[in-house]
């Protein structure tokens, strides 16, 4: 079971690598520009271009090219952004923490909110409260994440002015200590709210569906007959079981939250991977774009792997198999 999963993840990694490799090389147009970006194609001298072509075996067969491509990656070299004049790795490592902060806290928040809402609303299935929560969340789930972001931005930042319009910190403020943390939090608040709102429906709907399934199991009746408090039944007995599908699909949640963060970062000009992708697209900075997507793919795969391990720790039925 575990082995099959790992093979799948490796294959997924291979799939992304091949896509990354083939796309610029097989599309019509100048492969040099498609590999190194517009900036390199415009500003580098012919000699420098020749050197790069030779380095990546661009005049040789695809297989030879692929070898070099993989070897370069294996060294941890993600390429060079000519638009930013920095190695891609450096660029990404500068912005990665912001994205991780945003995605990580949004995931924790949305999972918690979704779980609690899901358990409470599933428990009250069919009542008015349940129907309203369900309707609201379903409505929310229909909205694209960037729209949620834009609406929050327009209302809370532009109209009310409660929060900054963008960025992750106030530039050149010289804040330190608590003031700095507060500043970071103020900048984080709206994007975090947007991403959390965009992610809550997932965990809510999943929890509610699994609570509904679990409530039909006789152990709920057993727990009630034992004279347990409703809170104990809901959270210890039903909640514990409903946690399983959520934790089992955490890998997918990470992917979905990362995707959401791309758009939300752009809306709030939050200096993470999303804004970087936006910039790379605008400047046709293909090495950067490829590097970011590769890092994201790797993150998602690792998250999936971690999820599988976590799920097998939490669910005794998987653990012993």
């Amino acid at each position: 079971m575990r082995k099959k999963k790992i093979i799948t993840y490796l294959a997924a990694l291979g799939f992304i690598l091949i896509l990354n490799f083939l796309l610029p090389r097989l599309l019509p147009g100048d492969p040099f520009m498609a590999i190194y970006g517009e900036e390199a194609a415009l500003s580098l001298s012919e000699a420098a271009k020749e050197e790069l072509r030779a380095k990546m075996n661009l005049d040789k067969s695809l297989i030879a090219q692929f070898k070099v491509y993989l070897l370069t990656l294996a060294k941890g070299d993600l390429g060079y952004s000519y638009a930013l004049n920095q190695p891609v790795r450096t660029v990404i490592s500068k912005v990665l923490p912001w994205t991780l902060l945003l995605v990580g806290s949004a995931l924790i928040l949305s999972t918690l909110i979704g779980l609690i809402l899901g358990i409470e609303s599933g428990w009250r299935r069919g009542t008015r409260a349940d129907r309203w929560i369900l309707l609201t969340v379903v409505g929310l789930s229909a909205l694209p994440n960037f729209l949620i972001g834009i609406l929050l931005l327009l209302f809370f930042a532009v109209q009310l002015g409660w929060f900054p319009l963008g960025g992750a910190v106030t530039p050149y403020s010289g804040f330190t200590g608590t003031a700095y943390l507060l500043d970071v939090f103020k900048h984080l608040f709206l994007p975090l709210l947007a991403l959390t709102l965009a992610q809550v429906p997932r965990s809510y709907l999943l929890t509610r569906a699994s609570v509904l399934g679990n409530l039909s199991y006789p152990y709920v009746r057993t727990a009630a007959a034992k004279g347990l408090k409703p809170l104990q039944i809901r959270y210890k007995h039903v909640g514990r079981n409903s946690l399983l599908p959520i934790s089992a699909s955490l890998g997918v949640s990470v992917g979905s939250a990362l995707a959401g963060s791309l758009f939300i970062e752009i809306v709030f000009s939050y200096p993470g991977m999303g804004s970087l992708i936006h910039q790379a697209i605008a400047q046709r900075d293909y090495p950067l774009l490829q590097g970011i997507l590769l890092v994201i793919a790797l993150t998602v795969i690792l998250a999936n792997l971690a999820t599988d391990i976590l799920a097998s720790k939490i669910d005794p039925r998987i653990r012993k198999e």
Binding site: W123, G227, R240, R317, K320
Partner: protein, 579 residues
């Protein structure tokens, strides 16, 4: 200790329980038996206040209850949620049926068994764990598996854990809901022994469809059908001589190692009864009142009119101990033969013969030729007049000569079919003869009835057959014609005098099956006169052994044949065919 008074439960329009009255005392086990869907589990859950509270919040309004469930002077139906919570498991606990996920799949056994102890504040978590370990040891749960999860355990182990969990808070009322279902027979046996050992101090309500478990664990048994208790009484009596047709059917359908008669069922008319008796649509002895009024629950009592006054007959030795919900007071004694004597000079006389034939029952009268079997048949039919004693049909004295009504309700089937039908009449005429005599129906109705009677006994119904003569038929066919003739008046009681002794074994088997089928459908009572005790064992509910004009032994067929008391019965059994 636990008293249920006129408890009704309905779920929306569906009536689940319709007026239950039960009492369970301390140290007593009451078995509640019945088929799935009878409402057994709903009743059990009601006692824990578990109906429609936590389980279905949106449908709570649909659950309607009436009546009382009194425990320690308080009505469980009117307790607050907190009071109920307090009551559950500390006073009333359950051993639930072990279906998948009765225990929480992601918590260990130890955790779940100890949980009620700590959550009812009987001790710290540590003490709860200790207590759980003691209880699990007590039920012989393997101690190495105490930290296992439910999916790692066998059915028997899970059931033991459930029992330990039920007992941990020392409850006063214990509800066992199918505690041994889905276990293999050997494990079931072990668990039944365990349960009978450790439930002694509680008031126990045992819910089961398994009559052998009810018999092993309980002193009293109540039979539930469609939310109504139809019979209640001492378990051994209820399981041996049931007084409600439903309980008898349940027993007949249930194969056990003693039964000698074939398994039998009743009408499968499952139409929901609107008013009146819940059993009405399937009942073969129903009266018009049964359709409109629910029957009262009455103490079972057999009374007959003897020569001068009403005499109480304690036929089964259980008058007053059982209760039956039936307008007719339970299964009707169609035929009561009371102290019947008839003398034919010094060489032979019938002395003080008494027995009964109930609705839907086969009683075999077994004895040698010349022992007085056929005399009894003649006396019953009114062909001869007794010197002494009474013959009652449906608890009424039979006039002599017999009334037309009696002759319609009671039919005799003779031994020799060749002799029993006139060779000069066609089959159709033979069969229609009783109708002609009793002046029933137009010619068209008579034809229709004839065809129906022929179909009932499995004979052809086309014109060619109807117009043929007995001479063209075999013995088996002729006996069927004779039976069809007897059935055309829709009798309630058949007196069959050696009806198959002139027939080959294969034909006999066919005719016996036919009669048993008719009994199932119509509730036909049957007095089956035979010299063949092996045959009697297969077809009869009860056997009467007659010797020299005296009934020397009578009892349940399996008892008489497996454990005979009288030397003559032993002799008969020794002479019965064995090969």
């Amino acid at each position: 200790m636990l008293q249920i008074n006129n408890y009704h439960l309905s779920y929306g329009k569906k009536k689940v329980l319709r007026g239950i009255d039960l009492v369970v005392n301390k140290g007593e086990t009451l078995a509640l038996v019945g088929e799935s869907g009878a409402g057994k589990t709903s009743l059990g859950l009601s006692i824990g206040g578990l109906i429609g509270r936590e389980s279905e919040p949106a449908n709570q309004a649909k659950v309607q209850t009436q009546g009382q469930i009194i425990f320690q002077g308080k009505d469980i139906l009117h307790l607050s949620a907190e009071e109920l919570q307090e009551l559950r498991w500390s006073k009333i606990s359950f051993v639930f049926q072990n279906v998948s996920n009765t225990l929480n799949p992601v918590l260990t056994i130890w955790e779940q068994v100890s949980e009620p102890y700590s959550s009812h504040h009987l001790g710290t978590r540590r003490q709860a764990r200790e207590q759980a370990r003691i209880m699990l040891d007590k039920v012989a749960f393997p101690s190495a598996k105490i930290n296992h999860y439910p999916h790692q355990l066998s059915g028997g182990e899970l059931q033991r854990a459930l029992i330990a969990m039920a007992l941990i808070n020392k409850p006063e009322v214990l509800i066992l809901d199918e505690p041994t279902a889905s276990l293999d027979p050997i494990t079931r046996q072990e668990l039944v022994q365990l349960l009978s050992r450790i439930t002694k101090d509680c008031a126990v309500l045992l819910i089961t469809h398994d009559l052998s478990v009810a018999s092993a664990l309980s002193k009293r048994t109540a039979v539930l059908y469609k939310g109504k208790i139809l019979e209640e009484g001492p378990t051994d009596k209820v399981l041996q001589t049931p007084h409600h047709p439903y309980m008898r059917a349940l027993l007949r359908s249930y194969p056990h190692m003693h039964s000698s008669k074939d398994i039998q069922s009743i009408n499968l008319n499952l139409k929901e009864p609107a008013e009146g008796c819940v059993f009405f649509p399937r009942c073969t002895q129903a009266l018009p009142i049964c359709q409109t009024t629910a029957p009262p629950v009455l103490e079972f009592k057999l009374t007959v009119l003897s020569a001068n006054a009403k005499e109480e007959l304690d036929f089964f030795g259980q008058n007053g101990s059982s209760k039956v919900a039936c307008h007719r007071g339970g299964i009707v004694p169609y035929l009561v033969v009371h102290r019947l004597s008839k003398s034919y000079g010094p060489e032979f006389s019938l002395r003080e013969v008494s027995f009964m034939v109930f609705e839907g029952e086969t009683v075999a009268l077994v004895g040698q030729s010349g022992s007085g079997k056929s005399t009894i048949a003649k006396l019953i039919m009114g062909l001869e007049k007794p010197d002494q004693g009474n013959i009652l049909y449906e608890e009424q004295k039979t006039p002599f000569p017999r009334s037309q009504e009696f002759l319609q309700k009671v039919q005799l089937i003779f031994q020799n079919p060749y002799d029993a039908v006139s060779p000069r009449l066609t089959i159709k005429e033979i069969i229609q003869e009783p109708l002609l005599i009793q002046k029933i129906g137009t010619q068209e109705e008579k034809n229709a009835k004839a065809i129906q009677a022929l179909a009932d006994v499995g004979l052809p119904t086309e014109d060619r057959f109807l117009h043929s003569y007995p001479s063209s038929l075999s013995g088996g066919e002729l006996q069927r014609v004779a039976i069809a003739r007897a059935l055309i008046l829709e009798p309630k009681l058949l007196i069959a005098d050696e009806p198959t002794s002139a027939l080959d074994a294969l034909v006999q088997a066919k005719i016996i099956k036919l009669l048993m089928g008719l009994q199932e459908q119509r509730g036909l009572g049957m007095l089956f006169i035979t010299h063949d005790i092996a045959l009697a064992r297969k077809i009869a509910d009860r056997i009467l052994v007659i010797q020299n004009g005296e009934i020397v032994e009578q009892g349940l067929a399996w008892e008489v044949t497996s454990n005979p008391k009288h030397p003559f019965t032993k002799q008969l059994l020794a002479a019965a065919s064995v090969f």
